[in-house]
């Protein structure tokens, strides 16, 4: 049964924290959204509430990290990544404090609550800060396994998790590694590269394209920074066209990063699928994905258009 990744994260963290007193969960009146109520009740000495004060959340987490704690600062991604970005830059990254920043209900998870609650710029700002690892798990299994790896991972991390049930992508043999992409579907004509909870849509699109006679490769990334450039450049070389898919602004995220990579290492036709540079229409997450062509059907259309471009483009 697919469940929200945020829920899987907190259950995993609670299990880990019971055997590791260094682990501290911090919330900014975000116990509910981060599903931390159980953690707070069971391990009050390893839980810190700071109230609605995201700057203080990150500063306190940095101070605790500097005293040997392993703090997980959990707050809605929209506020954590914007309201406290300077604390993230200075107190965490620049000061070398090993804080785990957990962006809850990321992307357009909050749907019809509107743009105040969407985090569509978080990847852009995070990846521009030296030293921060940026992680987006796709499904429950990947979330649980990456959470475990975060405890002793060196350096600060931003991990974004969605609010809704995350459809399963990986089987029980999958072992994720931070910074390592995964080949989900083989193909020769083009490649879809997806991140986070849009990996499932990308994979579904890959199957639909296969049914339409198009050999589409699908690559999943659980880490935006450091980027697995090898899997991307191999895909570019072998399939000759890339479609990047992200729950983020088309500026500054995965697509921008891949465009930079292709510009440096040899271009192929590229389509960047994400949210446009404009206020979004009202809708729940699913409706927004469909509206902006980020569901499987929308990605199939973008893929076909990309293939047409590949056939007519001379680089």
């Amino acid at each position: 049964m697919d469940r929200p990744n945020r829920r899987v994260f907190t259950e995993t963290l609670l299990t880990l924290a019971k055997n590791d007193r260094r682990i501290i969960a911090l919330a900014s009146d975000s116990r509910g959204s981060a599903t931390l109520n159980e953690f707070a009740a069971e391990l009050p000495e390893q839980f810190v509430e700071v109230g609605i004060a995201e700057q203080n959340l990150v500063g306190i987490a940095a101070g605790m990290a500097k005293c040997g704690k392993v703090p997980f600062a959990c707050s809605p991604a929209c506020f954590l990544s914007m309201r406290s970005i300077e604390q993230i830059k200075t107190d965490v990254a620049y000061s070398g404090a090993n804080v785990r920043l957990i962006g809850i209900s990321g992307g357009v998870s909050y749907g019809a609550l509107g743009s105040t609650h969407h985090s569509l710029q978080d990847l852009a700002v995070m990846q521009a800060i030296p030293g921060i690892t940026v992680i987006l798990p796709a499904d429950n299994r990947e979330t649980a396994m990456l959470t475990r790896q975060l405890v002793d991972y060196p350096g600060p991390v931003y991990m974004r998790l969605g609010r809704e049930a995350a459809p399963r992508v990986y089987d029980d043999n999958y072992r994720p590694a931070i910074g390592k992409g995964t080949l989900l579907l083989s193909g020769e004509d083009m490649t879809i590269v997806a991140m986070g909870e849009l990996v499932r849509s990308a994979l579904d699109a890959g199957y639909l394209l296969r049914q339409a006679g198009i050999s589409c490769r699908v690559v999943a990334l659980n880490t935006l920074k450091p980027l697995d450039t090898e899997i991307l450049l191999t895909a570019a070389r072998e399939t000759g066209a890339l479609l990047t898919v992200e729950e983020h602004s088309i500026y500054g995220g995965l697509g921008s990063r891949v465009a930079q990579l292709l510009g440096e290492c040899g271009p192929v036709p590229l389509t960047v699928a994400g949210f446009p540079d404009e206020p979004l229409v009202t809708g729940n997450q699913e409706e927004l994905f469909r509206h902006y062509g980020l569901d499987a059907a929308g990605l199939v259309e973008k893929a076909k258009e990309l293939l047409r471009r590949k056939q007519t483009t001379r680089l």
Partner: protein, 277 residues
């Protein structure tokens, strides 16, 4: 250390601060000079630390939230043996560790500061970690008064009182001036004592250049068990150099050769009884 010895240290530190800034052609001299007496008492008389083992887990932590006043901090860290004194000559020079704002690559510096309003949150986190682990160390944080306009300071003030962090000591270098003028005109944050008391802190107001008062009060923390302690230190921006005192233009002005020589003469010419004692 005796008061006379402490007073001697404040003079030496002020001279070195002046030298650093003159040589580098940059720095924040006014606020560096107002904070010298507080820093000297902290580092020569109050804080418990091991220069040869900067990461000693039981050490008292110090955070210079007003990171632009790093010159006196660097001078004292070098004098206490955290790094070689000769390195001070590299202040703000190409590839030096000693930038215009502190960074933990300088031994003794806990976290990077310089963007105002950050230090007290980090100090609160350190104090909270100490409480949770039942460790005896204290955390000291030095703020500027202009910095108090940053909202994040008050987020931290609320949290420190909420968690009853009596192992946290905050000092405000209250020199009354900031980069564009008197703090009360730029953004009036008075009455400070009443504000901090209302936020749940135990507050004392002292003369921030009276070494005896500084020492006496810092040796009495926590002022109340179960509450964080605040020292509002009334200071003079540019303290010790007559033509810089109480003039906000000296926030980050660099002295000319003539001004440098005149200032150095003043700092050499006065006895410990006239300044800082």
């Amino acid at each position: 250390m005796t008061l006379t010895e402490l007073a001697q240290k404040t003079l030496e530190t002020r001279r070195e601060v002046l030298r650093l800034i003159y040589r580098a052609g940059a720095g924040h001299i006014g606020g560096a000079l107002s904070a010298v007496d507080l820093l000297v008492v902290l580092f020569y008389d109050v804080l418990n630390y091991r220069p040869e083992e900067p990461a000693w887990p039981m050490r008292d932590r110090f955070i210079l939230s007003k990171g632009h006043s790093c010159e006196g901090y660097y001078v004292i860290l070098a004098d206490r043996g955290f790094f070689p004194r000769e390195e001070l000559a590299s202040f703000m020079k190409y590839q030096s560790r000693l930038m215009g704002h502190p960074h933990p690559k300088v031994p003794g510096v806990e976290v990077a500061t310089g963007s105002l309003g950050h230090g007290l949150s980090v100090a609160t986190g350190m104090a909270l970690a100490g409480k949770r682990d039942q460790l005896p160390y204290r955390v000291y944080c030095l703020l500027g008064d202009g910095e108090l306009a940053e909202g994040s300071i008050w987020e931290a003030a609320i949290a420190a009182a909420h968690y009853g962090l009596d192992n946290l000591v905050c000092l405000i270098d209250c020199n009354g001036l900031q980069i564009s003028g008197p703090t009360q005109q730029v953004m009036n944050t008075q009455p400070l004592a009443a504000k901090w008391e209302a936020f749940g802190w135990e507050v004392r107001e002292i003369d921030g250049h009276d070494l005896q008062q500084i020492r006496q009060n810092l040796n009495q923390v926590p002022f109340t068990v179960g509450r964080p302690s605040l020292v509002i230190a009334r200071t003079v921006k540019g303290k010790g150099i007559s033509f810089m005192e109480n003039d906000f233009h000296w926030h980050h002005k660099v002295p000319s050769r003539e001004e440098y020589e005149r200032a150095m003469k003043e700092l050499e010419g006065v006895g410990p009884s006239e300044i800082g004692a």
